[in-house]
Assembly symmetry: C2
DNA sequence: CAGCATCCCATTAGATACTG
DNA sequence: CAGTATCTAATGGGATGCTG
C-alpha cells in the first residue's frame, strides 16, 4: 500500500515539512497517534475512539504507522487474540508535533468546538 | 472542490488534531505555507520552489488555503498580471505548527537530508 | 478479537491545451 | 503571468463477508 500521499519530496528546504506530514496524514493517523499518547490501546479500543473508521482503514493506517516506525504492535498468542498498540520511541518524539496540531486546532478552529462561555 | 481529506471529524478530543491536519495536508499546502513564512510570493515563484507541482494542483491548493483563511491573494490589475500570495494573520498563527513539522522532519527523517558533518 | 480479501465507487492528481 | 478547462490515470476509501 502506498505511502498515503506526499510521495515525492521535491521541494527545497520545505521538504522536511512534507516529509513529516507524510507520516501523519492519512485521515486517521493523527488521531491514532494522539490517542496512543495516552497509553497502550488495543485494536478495538482505538476503533471505539474513532466512530467512523472502518476496520480496513484502521488496519491500514496502523500498518503504515508501524512501517514508519511510529508505533509498535504487540501480538499476544491468546484466544481470543489480543494486540496492543503503543507509540514507539520514534513515535514519542512526534508528541510535540501532535500536540502543536491539537493546541492550534483547539484554539483556532471555530467549528471544532464552541469555545464559548 | 472538496476539503482534501479529513472531512469527518468524529473523533473525541483528537478531533482538533485532524482538524488542523485537514488544513495543511493536501500534498503541497504544508510546503506552500512554509515558503510563505519567508514572505510574499507570486504564483510562479511558488511554482518554481515546487518543481513537481502542476499549475492545476498549485492553483487548487492555493484556493483552498485562501478559502480556509490561511493565505491572502492580492491581484494587481496589470498586464502582465501579477498576483501576490501572503500568509494571513490566521496563517501566521500556524507558523509554530509548520516549524514543528519542519524541525521534526529535519531531525528525524533519515532519507530527507543527510545530516552528516 | 483482530484481522484479511474482494468488489466497487469517489476523489485526487497528472497531462495537455487554451485564455484574459 | 496567472490562470481555466477537459480528459484520464491512480489512489483512497466504504461496504461486506470470511477466518484463525
Amino acid at each position: 500500500m502506498g505511502r498515503t500521499r506526499h510521495d515525492r519530496f521535491d521541494c527545497s528546504p520545505g521538504c522536511a515539512v512534507e516529509a513529516t506530514l507524510s507520516l501523519i496524514d492519512g485521515k486517521w493517523k493523527g488521531v491514532v497517534l494522539y490517542h496512543l499518547m495516552s497509553g497502550t490501546l488495543r485494536f478495538n479500543e482505538i476503533r471505539r475512539k474513532l466512530p467512523n473508521v472502518t476496520q480496513r482503514m484502521l488496519t491500514n493506517q496502523l500498518r503504515e504507522l508501524e512501517a514508519d516506525g511510529l508505533i509498535t504492535r504487540t501480538v499476544f498468542a491468546q484466544v481470543p487474540p489480543r494486540v496492543d498498540y503503543d507509540l514507539s520511541e520514534r513515535g514519542r518524539t512526534l508528541e510535540p508535533v501532535i500536540l502543536a496540531l491539537k493546541v492550534w486546532g483547539d484554539a483556532n478552529m471555530p467549528a471544532t468546538e464552541n469555545a464559548a462561555a
